[in-house]
Amino acid sequence: MKPGTALRSVTDFLAGRFPVDKLDFHSMVEKKEVPLHKMSWGYYTGGLTLFFFLVQVVTGLLLLFYYQPTVSDAHASVEYITQHVACGALIRNMHAWSSSCMIFFVIVHLLVTFAMKAFEKPREITWIAGVMLLFLTFTFGFTGYLLPWNQIAVNATKVGLQSVEYAGAYLPGTLSELPRILRETFQGEASVGQSTLGRFYALHVVILPLCFVAVLGLHLLQVQLHGMSQGIDTPSPTSERFFPIFFSKDLEVWSVAFLILFVLALCLPFESFLPFPLLEPYDPLGATPAGIKPEWYFYFVYYPLELLPFWVIMLGSAVVAAGLFLTPWIFKGTSRKTLAFIAVAATLYLVVMTLFGEQIYHLVKG
């Protein structure tokens, strides 16, 4: 292809995906419609994810006032927040619950938009930005989990980072050292310690939020420019106006979500699901308590990791990740029925592995 043609195809692509002539009040606000059909509930999932992210930002900012990111003070500062600061327990619990809710809804949003074929042309960039947001969200969860610096936090992070090192067995010669070097680069030192806490804190509080907001801006801009996708095969004849009808309904959904989150955070401490030895401050010279495992949203990859050879997981993850990014092109010609089937299969896998992963592990390992 001649360089001129190649360049023109790139600019054509971008022009199609960024119709900036539609950046006016009339197209973006007045004319914005939301199709009404049986999958219309799917249009709320993105908003809910955004809502939980906003809750995270606010509660996170409040926690920032009192949290101290040093190995000698981190646990004590979190204890101080929960026991002495006015509403500290509520804010901390809200942050914990909302993180799980955000991750839950980001996965639901992924599956729903996949099944509704919302990644179809011209919404490819929306989809790619969305997948980046998915990975950023999981990274938020991973980095944030370390911050309380209790037994479960540090040991679960160690277990997670150790899995990177298993790849070393498959690399020849001196290259097999590479994963260990990579892991120690993530950690900042030979074993998880102050360097790790410092950089995970910087990531969780500044770097990831900045990246997230930037990518989210792109994602939302794309949604505004292209409007809501049609969602089902034959475009629905009825639709409702985004502003004010859908927007009010969205607010109602957000308020219900907020109330459920509030009641959960007020009445059900997140820590009560963990055995209490795991909540003690991390002791580098002491024993590792039993029952260390990552947070629930990593179970779908953690238990297979324990059951299957590492190369299977590595290959599977690489395929899934590539597949996620290239979905708009891989599934360009796929019917919504097939997409729905794939989404349901994926959901089943995620639900079964998350809820019953531990039992399956014990069943297999005997």
Binding site: Y80, V85, A86, L285
Partner: protein, 440 residues
């Protein structure tokens, strides 16, 4: 004397006149039971005057009546600080709203020519009286806090004493002038009800709250174009009103519920001395632990050799704990040949520290999940949850002058030779770098 007249005589006269006057007027001049609305003459200012006035004064009078009729419940509620502050706050806000509305109504009545044509002297008297009354009420709330609390002890028993024909003005005669003025003003207003348009109070249009909005359909083509706009404007106004009520109610609750907590969050917990001391003790303990850990690390960074024990102190069946160069726990035993035997004490299962005592078979036990390790081979029992063996650790022997006598690598290769007669003088160290010791 004046007190007796104003606080006992006047009320009875006012109530009597109000009751009998109203009954007479309702029977004799039925159609004067009207607010004499001037909406058709001037409607723009009326909305900004009448609505705030009526909303404000209606709710305030309701609150006054509740405190009067249910003093027990009311004062019980007011014991709660939050409820008290909210009630007073909302009351003051409503009073300001009422005053604002009243001022607009007064201005309207004295500036609009059309309205002046239908204004009577009594209207002006009533307006002034109402303004003064609300002003006095606001002054009471501002100067003599907290009215919502003390009213049930002063005004309520006073009014009930009047209504039960056992008048006792002593409840209120000692109160400041402003408050007495407010009470007297109330009686004056009641007195004037049958002589003014205030009689419209007894025709409470409660069903106005629930009737559907009325649409005026203009047949006149001149008005038809603006009719649509008018409908939209009024629909919008209804939405804004509902919106304002919802946001105000929700916002007030939210503020009341969250305000002091938000403030206390940023103000910071102010703990008692005992709690501060307890927290400080915990913090010191944690810091000491970190310092201890760092001291060990520093020692291992600075020194090429770390002292484990004197050779004579080691025993074959009871290990001594020490911390190796990797900051992990380890055990030192005396081997069968009299030389040291150093083995890691970090269980290969989940990292618990293995126990120091050998059982009869020469195995040490990790108590967490019951794994037995042979100290000579390091291998765990086949039924142990631990699968990997405990690694051995290399050591060096030094005599009392610090000269290296013998050293053993982790892989088991021994260099140097220890003189069994001098065994008492030897000390066991672990070394950062393993050197071969030349036999002397």
């Amino acid at each position: 004397m004046i007190d007796a007249f104003l606080l006992i005589g006047l009320p009875y006269v006012a109530i009597a006149v109000c009751i009998f006057g109203t009954i007479y007027r309702l029977r004799a001049e039925k159609f004067t039971q009207s607010a004499l609305s001037s909406q058709f003459l001037e409607s723009n200012q009326l909305v900004w005057g009448s609505l705030p006035w009526h909303i404000g004064i209606g709710l305030i009078i309701l609150a006054h009546l509740l405190a009067l009729i249910f003093p027990g419940t009311w004062s019980g509620l007011m014991q709660n600080r939050t409820i008290l502050y909210t009630t007073e706050g909302v009351g003051i806000a409503l009073a300001v709203l009422a005053v604002a509305g009243l001022v607009v109504l007064i201005i309207r009545r004295i500036t609009s020519a059309r309205i002046q044509a239908v204004t009577s002297v009594m209207d002006l008297v009533i307006l002034t009286l109402l303004l003064v009354q609300v002003g006095l009420g606001l002054a009471t709330a501002a100067i003599y806090r907290w009215g919502a609390m003390w009213a049930t002890a002063a005004a309520t028993p006073y009014v009930w004493s009047l209504l039960t024909f056992q008048p006792d003005a002593s409840y209120v005669s000692g109160l400041p002038l402003v408050i007495r003025g407010h009470i007297i003003g109330a009686w004056l207003i009641i007195l004037l009800i049958p002589f003014s348009r205030l009689i419209h109070m007894f025709a409470l249009p409660l069903d106005y709250l629930f009737r559907p909005p009325q649409k005026v359909v203009w047949i006149n083509p001149r008005h038809q174009e603006s009719a649509v706009e008018l409908v939209e404007r009024e629909a919008a106004r209804r939405y804004f009103l509902k919106g304002a009520v919802g946001v105000a109610a929700g916002g007030t609750l939210l503020t009341v519920g969250a305000a002091d907590k938000v403030f206390r969050f940023f103000f910071g917990p102010r703990l008692s001395e005992r709690e501060e001391a307890k927290l400080m003790a915990i913090r010191v303990k944690r810091l000491e632990k970190t310092v201890e850990h760092k001291k060990y690390e520093l020692e291992r960074q600075q020194n090429d050799y770390i002292f484990v024990a004197k050779l004579s102190e080691l025993e074959p069946r009871k290990g001594r704990y020490f911390i190796d160069y990797a900051m992990k726990p380890a055990l030192a035993f005396k081997d069968t040949d009299g030389m040291p035997l150093l083995i890691s004490a970090k269980c290969t299962h989940l990292g618990c520290t293995v126990g120091a005592d050998c059982n009869a078979e020469g195995k040490i036990l990790c108590p967490c999940h019951v794994s037995y390790f042979d100290i000579h081979t390091g291998k765990p029992n086949p039924d142990s949850p631990a699968k990997a063996p405990l690694p051995h650790i290399g050591w060096v022997l030094m005599d009392q002058d610090g000269k290296l006598v013998a050293s053993k690598h982790a892989d088991g290769s021994l260099t140097g030779r220890a003189d069994p007669e001098k065994a008492d003088t030897y000390s066991v160290f672990i070394a950062k770098y393993h050197e071969r010791v030349e036999e002397s």
